[in-house]
């Protein structure tokens, strides 16, 4: 059974078809990137896969459960238990330290455990910044805290929305390396990006256009490492 399946999914706002008969299957442990111009439906698809929206038509099966039929309360539970989110603008709680921001995800999931949260920060190379507030961290460091928060509850899928959009090249590479490590550990990754270099690293690239998957490219030389074009 595939981890994620979108079957004939539509999202219609009045006359606009934000998603227009999308079919997609993502296997467990797969690394998929989604590209596309603005307004192509990437955000809508992310919202639906991330259990923050429901399709107008079609089925979305996550781990065998059709989330298009679930209540918003159970969508919250599914999102909390199965999905780790990474955002372009990091979205850390400003009055909590790095480790507390990681513990926040544990707090809503089960019980906050500082030791475990520190281990997650260690995985992203931020042990020495654990007690710093977001305002005391660089953009790259904030994004790494965001990655640590996303993976702390061992989600089935990590959904990253333009994760390198606000980062310089060095930090971009660090974050992609982190994705590579997560992928190696068996985590399923779906990364929405504008950046072709980040998209090409994935095992499979999808291009969305006018709410449809217009192109699908399998990376034959998948290494999980970024190659910058100078």
């Amino acid at each position: 059974m595939s981890l994620l399946e979108l079957k004939n999914v539509y999202k219609i706002y009045g006359e606009l078809h934000a998603l227009d008969n999308v079919n997609l299957t993502v296997e467990k442990g797969e690394w998929v990137s989604i590209m596309g111009p603005s307004g192509s439906g990437k955000s809508t698809m992310m919202n639906i896969i991330g259990c923050m929206d429901k399709p107008s038509k079609g089925e979305v099966l996550l781990d065998g459960v059709d989330i298009s039929k679930e209540s918003s309360k159970s969508l919250t539970t599914i999102r909390r238990d199965k999905i780790g989110l990474i955002f372009q603008q990091f979205h850390l709680v400003n009055n909590l330290t790095a480790v507390e921001n990681v513990m926040l995800a544990q707090y809503y999931h089960s019980i906050p455990d500082e030791k475990e949260a520190l281990e997650a920060l260690e995985r992203v190379g931020l042990t020495d910044r654990a007690k710093h507030l977001p305002s005391q961290l660089s953009g790259g460091e904030q994004q790494r805290v965001c990655v640590a928060r996303a993976l702390i509850n061992y989600p089935e899928i990590i959904l990253a929305d333009e994760p390198t959009g606000n980062l310089d090249e060095a930090n971009e590479e660090t974050v992609v390396d982190l994705f590579h490590k997560l992928h190696d550990e068996g985590t399923t990754l779906i990364v929405v990006t504008h950046d072709p270099e980040v998209a090409e690293v994935a095992q499979r690239q999808l291009v969305l256009r006018n709410g449809r998957i217009s192109k699908e490219v399998i990376n034959q030389h998948f290494t999980g490492k970024i190659r910058f074009n100078d």
Binding site: G50, L85, H91, V93, P112
Partner: protein, 387 residues
């Protein structure tokens, strides 16, 4: 336990971060709690304070004879019904027609110390109260008509009953005559200025009568209902006397009291309503400011219940702090009002502290309901794409 610690850490950190905004909300809650605690203190203390004030306007209960006159024993029987703590004063009066320079005047025998207690508004214009035998206090009008002043000596004549028949038949009359010293001139603005006052014993010796009282004036420090209870009890148990309330005094005391208490209640309600509006406005602004953070919390798995709990926690913490501050300041406020308005201290009511804190928490919680409800309606998807 750890989860609870994290919860408290989150709400305190959130309050600290929005210090300036939260100080405004805290101030409004503290002011509301201060007014609530202060006014409730005054509300319960006003009857006592006002009762004491009203006692300055004279007696509020009188005892009259059921038949002719009554004795001091009858009066004491009535007096014993009222607890000593409630009885401000009990002044007996007996009135007799006497003559000064052959002109008729009404003389009253009484107990000056008791009159001072029952009628504190009596003003000695010149001289002093009568104290010793042979001294009398003279009403201002009587003093005017006889051109008398403090220190003057005057003769008072009284025609005994058996001699009054002779007087009617124009036969020789044997009057009782006694010389008195004017101790002072009395001003009240009322009919008291038309009388002369002396010790009951002096009136007895002048008239040759003994132990007879026409009316006794009682000044009782008690609320209307309690006062009525005393009247009923005296009328039920004491013989020879009939007690009744001085409606002029008791009715106005009740009216003023109920109006004051209604005003205090109204002000409290208005202040609490204003506090609620201020808290609701602050919380609405806080929710608007924190839309993204709320969206993020929901996106990473916070349920509506968690969001409600966190915001309610913040509100209630504010309510708790405001309540504590208000309890302290409320007592200071009530003590100041009491001192300045009634010139007396106010008793501290420990029960008011938990009540004020509880009301502050409830009011703050209620004010936050609408803003918190709007927080739960925030779409978690707004955190994506930096919307």
């Amino acid at each position: 336990m750890k989860k609870r610690r994290m919860f408290f850490h989150m709400i305190t950190a959130s309050l600290m971060r929005r210090r300036s905004r939260m100080v405004v909300a805290l101030l409004s809650i503290a002011i509301g709690a201060t007014i609530l605690s202060g006014l409730v203190s005054i509300y319960y203390d006003v009857p006592r304070q006002l009762g004491a004030e009203f006692r300055n306007y004279g007696a509020n209960m009188i005892l009259t004879a059921t038949d002719g006159g009554f004795t001091s024993a009858d009066m004491n029987a009535g007096r014993s019904v009222i607890p000593a703590a409630d009885l401000v004063g009990a002044a007996p009066f007996r009135y007799e027609n006497i003559r000064i320079r052959e002109k008729p005047v009404v003389a009253a025998g009484t107990d000056p110390e008791q009159v001072k207690a029952t009628s504190p508004y009596w003003l000695i214009d010149s001289g002093e109260w009568f104290k010793n035998s042979g001294e009398l206090l003279i009403g201002a009008k009587v003093a005017d008509s006889f051109r008398l002043k403090a220190g003057d000596k005057i003769e008072l004549s009284f025609t005994p009953e058996e001699q009054q028949k002779n007087a009617a038949e124009n036969k020789a009359v044997q009057d009782n005559v006694r010389e008195f010293t004017v101790s002072g001139i009395l001003k009240t603005g009322g009919t008291e200025e038309e009388y002369v006052y002396m010790n009951m014993e002096d009136l007895d010796s002048l008239t040759g009568k003994a132990d007879r009282i026409d009316v006794a004036e009682f000044s009782v420090s008690a609320a209307s209902e309690k006062l009525k209870g005393y009247v009923e009890e005296i009328n039920r148990t004491a013989s020879g006397v009939r007690a009744s309330l001085v409606k002029r005094v008791t009715a106005s005391e009740t009216t003023v009291l109920s109006k004051l208490q209604a005003l205090v209640l109204l002000v409290t309600v208005v202040v609490l309503a204003l506090t609620m509006i201020c808290v609701a406005t602050t919380m609405t602004a806080v929710v608007a400011e924190r839309r993204k953070e709320i969206g993020l919390r929901k996106a990473i798995g916070a349920s509506d219940g968690s969001i409600i709990k966190e915001f309610m926690g913040e509100s209630m913490l504010l309510g708790l702090l405001g309540g504590i501050i208000g309890s302290v300041l409320g007592y200071v406020f009530a003590a100041q009002v009491s001192l300045r308005v009634f010139s007396s201290s106010i008793s501290f009511r420990p029960l008011l502290v938990p009540i004020t804190i509880a009301v502050s928490i409830i009011v703050t919680g209620l004010s936050s309901l609408m803003p918190i409800r709007s927080a739960t309606e925030i779409d978690p998807a707004l955190v994506l794409k930096g919307e």
